[in-house]
């Protein structure tokens, strides 16, 4: 086995990485263009006025607040439900365990349009009016698995003995949870929460089915993409959305370094 990669492989790998990242940089560039009607490259001139314009656009703020609210509530619910599920599944062997795993994975294994359409059907059948909570219902459902994955990966890495050791030394179940499980699980849970927040904040596929007339920031963006008004303003918002997802992801990465929690299973 060669210890050095061939130049072809190196180039292909590096090229692949660049392919993944360069497009995002363009978003930043176009936020400063003076051309607002087309995506002409290179931009004919540069300006920072769009940030002020975006700040003063009143149609941006309500979707932003709604997105933050939905992401915050969904994250909290997903953290509670995902942690409980992971705690139950980490070590226990019981009848139907595989089916439960499948049920937890299903909301991300099946395309989002199905989750969206299903919820939409259920709201229709039950005559539930659209509200913040109908959006949260969908978001929390697909965020559970993210927290679950982070938590269960950490639990598997933890030596099972430390929970027994705690009980052996006289701690009751609640003391064991507070003094042993939580400190060892904390960063993985926080990472899961960060990723859930990032995912919820920019989710659009399920949301369009569960939002009715409400507009989250991604829905606002989608409308701008389909029927553009001031294109650079969309870029400014895109930068905000990108930052709002980028920062939690970085934090999640640093919280779980050395583990494999964030690898493998995606959204």
């Amino acid at each position: 086995m060669r210890s050095e990669a061939s130049w072809g492989l190196k180039l292909a790998a590096l090229g692949g990485l660049l392919f993944l990242h360069l497009p995002i940089l363009l978003i930043f560039l176009y936020a400063f263009t003076t051309e607002e009607r087309s995506y002409a490259f290179p931009p004919p001139g540069y300006t920072t006025e769009w940030f002020a314009v975006a700040w003063n656009r009143e149609d941006i703020w309500p979707p932003l607040w709604l997105s933050l609210k939905v992401a915050a509530i969904s994250t909290v619910m997903a953290m509670i439900l995902g942690t409980l599920a992971a705690a139950a599944m980490a070590r226990a062997r019981f009848f139907g365990r595989d089916q439960v795993t499948l049920l937890i994975l299903l909301p991300i294994a099946l395309p989002g349009v199905i989750t969206g359409m299903s919820l939409r059907s259920a709201f229709g059948v039950l005559d539930i009016p659209f509200s913040t909570w109908t959006i949260v219902l969908g978001h929390a459902t697909f965020c559970i698995v993210i927290v679950y994955n982070n938590a269960i990966a950490r639990m598997r890495r933890l030596s099972g003995g430390i929970l027994e050791a705690s009980a052996d030394l006289g701690a009751n179940a609640f003391q064991t949870f507070r003094h042993v499980l939580l400190p060892n699980l904390g960063s993985a849970l926080l990472a899961g929460g960060m990723l859930a927040f990032a995912l919820s904040f920019d989710e659009v596929i399920v949301t369009t089915f569960t939002a009715g007339q409400q507009s989250t920031l991604p829905i606002w963006m989608l409308n701008e993409l389909v029927r553009p008004r001031q294109r650079p303003v969309t870029n400014v918002v895109a930068i905000v959305v990108f930052a709002a997802t980028f920062v939690p992801i970085l934090i999640a990465y640093y919280l779980t370094r050395g583990g494999s929690e964030t690898a493998g299973m995606g959204k």
């Binding site: 705690s166 052996d168 006289g170």
Partner: protein, 328 residues
């Protein structure tokens, strides 16, 4: 005197697997008791039955006379030194040791003082601020010991505590554990698969085989008079003789054991065989003779003539040394 631990016909079955099957056992207070057996023989399950991490599917367990069928692990004043130590990775050594006191509600300064005292007992003074990850295997083992002792348990359970240490460290720790047990006067229950460790450390020991106790006794009892063929095979270096060979040697048709030291070579005798291996041991030579289908070892003291490999020789022995035993 009350027994520290008492098993009455205790079983622990996992479905069709009988991990522990009808065990009767009495561990005297203040003794150093070893549970010896190959892996899967039920010795670790027995230990976990005492600590409460397993529940018996049959029978009764008493700790200092009290039935513990309904007592969860955290209310049993019994502590364990785990095989992989199970130190809390997020706590430093001092807080690891003080953990048992913390969950009992002992104040910070008091429990830290007590923890330091325990660390001194296991010769780890000054290590309180380190994290478990910064310690060597031997040091972790001592922390685990200090942590288990801080609660002043009535019984200390040790699950293969020396298994992960290298030979030299293991021998040093054997002496230290023994001394510690003497000093504290505590009941130690020690699980091991290493017969030398069990024989050299324990006051009495139980040999486990397939979920049952094959024999309980002092190390000498078990070494000299193995009750069954399994014990003789597992514990000793004794020759195990099948019934027909025992009879040929003049005994009844039963399984028997015969120590190599008590076995001699002779010119003629009822049983003879071919010398298949020779091993010089300094104090003598170990000669292996193949007679029928059985290999029999004899220890020829230094200075006596030693046969060559392939030679034919007969076997003689002191009749009192022939020890009869059960078949299992």
């Amino acid at each position: 005197m009350t027994a520290a631990v008492e098993f009455q016909n205790v079983s622990r079955h996992f479905g069709p697997v009988k991990a522990v099957d009808g065990v009767d056992l009495t561990i005297a207070e203040g003794s150093f008791f070893a549970m010896l057996g190959p892996s899967g023989s039920g010795k670790t399950t027995c230990l976990r039955l005492i600590s409460g991490f397993e529940k018996p599917t049959g029978g009764q367990i008493r700790i200092f006379g009290e039935d513990v069928s309904n007592t969860p692990p955290h209310l049993r004043n019994v502590n364990t030194v785990f095989q992989d130590y199970a130190l809390f990775p997020h706590l430093n050594v001092r807080d690891n040791v003080a953990y048992g006191l913390m969950v009992k509600g002992v104040g910070r300064s008091q429990r830290h003082a007590k923890a330091e005292e325990m660390l001194a007992l296991v010769k780890l003074d000054g290590y309180g601020d380190r994290k478990p990850a910064q310690l060597s295997g031997g040091q972790r083992q001592r922390v685990a010991l200090a942590r288990a002792l801080v609660n002043q348990p009535r019984v200390l359970l040790l699950d293969e505590p020396l298994g992960a240490l290298d030979l030299k460290l293991r021998e040093a720790m054997q002496d230290e554990l023994k001394a510690l047990q003497h000093k504290l006067g505590l009941t130690f229950v020690f699980v091991t698969h290493d017969q030398h460790e069990a024989l050299s450390m324990a006051d009495s020991l139980a040999v486990f085989n397939e979920g049952k106790i094959a024999q309980i006794g002092t190390p000498r009892d078990i070494y000299d008079r193995p009750a069954t063929r399994f014990v003789a095979d597992f514990v000793g270096s004794s020759n195990v003789l099948p019934p027909d060979l025992t009879r040929a040697l003049g005994g009844p048709a039963q399984w028997a054991s015969l120590r190599p030291e008590a076995t001699r070579l002779a010119a003629t005798g009822p049983v003879s065989g071919t010398v298949t291996a020779l091993r010089y041991l300094g104090s003598g030579t170990r000669v292996v003779i193949r007679a029928g289908g059985t290999e029999i070892a004899a220890l020829v003291p230094a200075g006596q003539p030693v046969p060559t490999e392939g030679a034919t020789t007969a076997i003689a022995f002191d009749p009192q040394a022939l020890h009869l035993m059960g078949a299992i």
